[in-house]
């Protein structure tokens, strides 16, 4: 589903992402774990074709990032954390339908899909309210629903719970788990150990733009002879800094 090949991104002289090589298989949830400034957002932005790689490339849903960026975008759903990027002056339904139209969906399939997502995300009560007046948690649900209106093959989530309160975080975690159960492929980033441990099949540790560990949670625990991922994380990162 996703395969990066020496993916590198530089901003001027500064290398934000360096020589990434990893794969995400169909139905797998991969977590990119790293401190602030490690290069997670830059990696995901590059995979979403928002940034052009300085070197290397990636195959996303069978399309090359450089050669067919539009095809890549068509098959992925992207949610960037922090700010949810909704249109305040449009209603929830309008926000979501707009993206459906941009993905060339016809009105009928937009309606059907919106109906389904409304139930999954329990948005019935505020479907026709403008998003300006919603709570942060509600907004994040809407943004989540909007990013998967076209039923993408790969979902890219950049720190999907940052800035949310505990109950909203739990909601988001539930949706991700639900997606995972239906065989959805997901790549997500986080700086929270417990989050990736809870949600992901495999994790990649990113530090200063480099992928320094990659494997299932069990594999990593075994390699470092420790049960405490947090401690492993700090140790690996500490060794390299």
């Amino acid at each position: 589903m996703l395969k990066t090949i020496n993916l590198t991104k530089k901003f001027g002289n500064f290398t934000a992402v360096s020589n990434l090589n990893f794969e995400v298989k169909k139905g797998e949830v991969l977590g990119l774990l790293g401190k602030n400034g490690a290069g997670k957002t830059t990696t995901l932005r590059t995979l979403a074709t928002m940034l052009k790689p300085s070197a290397g490339t990636a195959q996303v849903c069978g399309y090359d990032l450089l050669k067919e960026p539009e095809k890549v975008r068509e098959h992925i759903g992207v949610l960037f954390g922090g700010e949810n990027g909704l249109y305040d002056r449009l209603t929830v339904a309008e926000n979501i339908s707009y993206f459906g139209e941009l993905y060339n969906m016809n009105q009928k399939s937009i309606r059907e899909r919106l109906h389904l997502l409304t139930e999954i995300f329990e948005m019935q009560d505020y479907l026709h309210r403008r998003t300006a007046h919603l709570s942060k948690g509600m907004k994040q649900k809407v943004a989540f629903a909007r990013s998967i209106i076209h039923n993408p093959q790969l979902i890219i989530l950049d720190e999907p719970t940052s800035g949310l309160d505990i109950s909203a975080i739990r909601d988001v975690h539930q949706f991700i788990s639900a997606c995972k159960k239906t065989g959805q492929t997901i790549i997500l980033s986080s700086h929270l150990m417990f989050e990736v441990e809870k949600l992901c099949d495999r994790i990649g540790l990113i530090h200063r733009g480099c992928l320094i560990e990659l494997g299932t949670i069990a594999e990593i625990k075994q390699k470092f002879h420790s049960d405490d991922l947090e401690a492993i994380f700090l140790k690996v990162v500490g060794e390299n800094s």
Binding site: V78, R89, E101, H150
Partner: protein, 404 residues
């Protein structure tokens, strides 16, 4: 580029902007109300001054002329026919003139009575203060009154000599104006209208442009949009068209304001009054040219606005950059304000902004050369293209789009 995507983005942006009170207010209501308000303020001020000068002309006699005979003469012979002039009794006439209480002082020659009886000319001095607008403006009315007095006396004398009253006049001056009616009417319009159209085109789209790119960047909604299927070009063009539309709405609102101000105050010789008397003289083809050229200027500015808004780091920064656009019109506009249509050098019809200003000016001035209009239109199209290219390059630069 994908037309379908452009239309989807365009439609959404228009709805979004229409729901933004700030944008609607700045695009629609301010232009609509600005001109009527200005017109009302200006015209009432001008009218008041005009009335003061023409309909209320107080004068006083110099101290040594302040005798009952002269008062009687002035009251009965000089100002009796002109009810706008009033004779005031001033203790200190110079001070009164200074304080703007009177417009002029009349001073009669000492032995005027002897001279009048001997049928010799005597002198009346009209003492006024040229540095005071009202005083200077009223002088003609006073001089006219004295001229009329003169004529009446001369006619009387001729009659007493057995002649006819008409003999007092040797020739009657009659003014025949051969200047093209449109040139006279348009002189004011010619100065102000090109500049006004240019400025409207430059600023109309600013609120929309600020919101649609810099505003979206700041609210974080641009990034998810760019991550959807459409390519950047389509997204940019959808936004661009929405900005252009709002820019033209704003211009139309200004014109509506102009029409409105004409209806509430038609005799104030508002801009529109002059347009309506002169508009008929402009050939339709020339009007079409001017409209097309002004339209392309609007499209050019919309492109520049989108580009600047893309370049800006924040909403505030975009507002600052975009507010400078007015100078892009005002500087060349003022620099060429008094250039006569026939004196405009040909290269002006190729320069950005100046080509539009010059084209409007020659059409209003009745100096229509279609070759020049065609050049202005052609170069205008090139500038639209250049502005869009500039916007596209910026919108595709990740350094610009993702800088923070």
């Amino acid at each position: 580029m994908n037309l379908r995507h452009i239309i989807i983005v365009f439609k959404k942006e228009v709805i979004d902007l229409l729901r933004d009170r700030k944008t609607v207010f700045a695009t629609l209501f301010i232009p609509m109300l600005l001109i009527p308000l200005l017109n009302l303020l200006l015209s009432s001020g001008v009218k008041e001054l005009f009335n003061e000068i023409n309909e209320n002309v107080p004068v006083a006699l110099a101290q040594d002329s302040n005798t009952p005979e002269i008062i009687a003469l002035v009251k009965e012979e000089i100002i009796s026919k002109n009810n706008h002039i009033q004779l005031l009794n001033a203790q200190n006439p110079y001070q009164a003139l200074h304080l703007d209480k009177i417009r002029a002082i009349l001073s009669f020659e000492k032995n005027y009575q002897t001279k009048l009886q001997a049928k010799e000319p005597f002198r009346i001095q009209i003492i006024y203060d040229k540095s005071q607008n009202k005083s200077a403006g009223s002088i003609e009315i006073i001089a006219q009154a004295i001229t009329e007095f003169n004529q009446a006396v001369v006619a009387e004398r001729i009659v007493s000599l057995g002649g006819k009253a008409e003999m007092a006049e040797a020739a009657q001056a009659e003014l025949v104006n051969i200047a093209d009616a449109r040139q006279v009417n348009n002189s004011f319009l010619m100065l102000i209208l090109p500049l006004m159209i240019g400025i409207l085109m430059a600023v109309g789209g600013i609120p929309a442009a600020t919101d649609l790119v810099a505003g979206e960047k700041e609210r974080g909604s641009l990034e998810p949009l760019l991550a959807t299927k459409p390519n950047r070009q389509s997204i940019l063009f959808g936004k661009y068209l929405a900005i252009a539309l709002f820019s033209f709405i704003s211009v139309l609102a200004s014109i509506a304001g102009l029409i409105f101000s004409y209806f509430i105050n038609p005799q104030s010789s508002s801009l529109l009054g002059e347009v309506s008397t002169s508009g008929m003289n402009i050939p339709p083809l020339a009007i079409l040219f001017v409209l097309a050229i002004a339209f392309t200027l609007g499209l050019t500015f919309a492109g520049i606005q989108v580009a600047l808004s893309t370049f800006a780091r924040s909403f505030k920064e975009a507002q600052t950059y975009l507010s400078y656009l007015i100078f892009a019109v005002m500087i060349p506009g003022y620099a060429t304000l008094f250039t006569q249509p026939s004196d405009i050098p040909i290269y002006m019809f190729f320069l950005p902004i100046l080509n539009t200003l010059s084209a409007i000016k020659i059409v209003l001035g009745g100096y229509i050369i279609y070759r020049y209009l065609a050049m202005a239109l052609l170069s205008s199209f090139l500038y639209v293209f250049a502005a869009l290219l500039f916007a596209t390059i910026l919108f595709n630069k990740e350094k610009v789009l993702f800088r923070s």
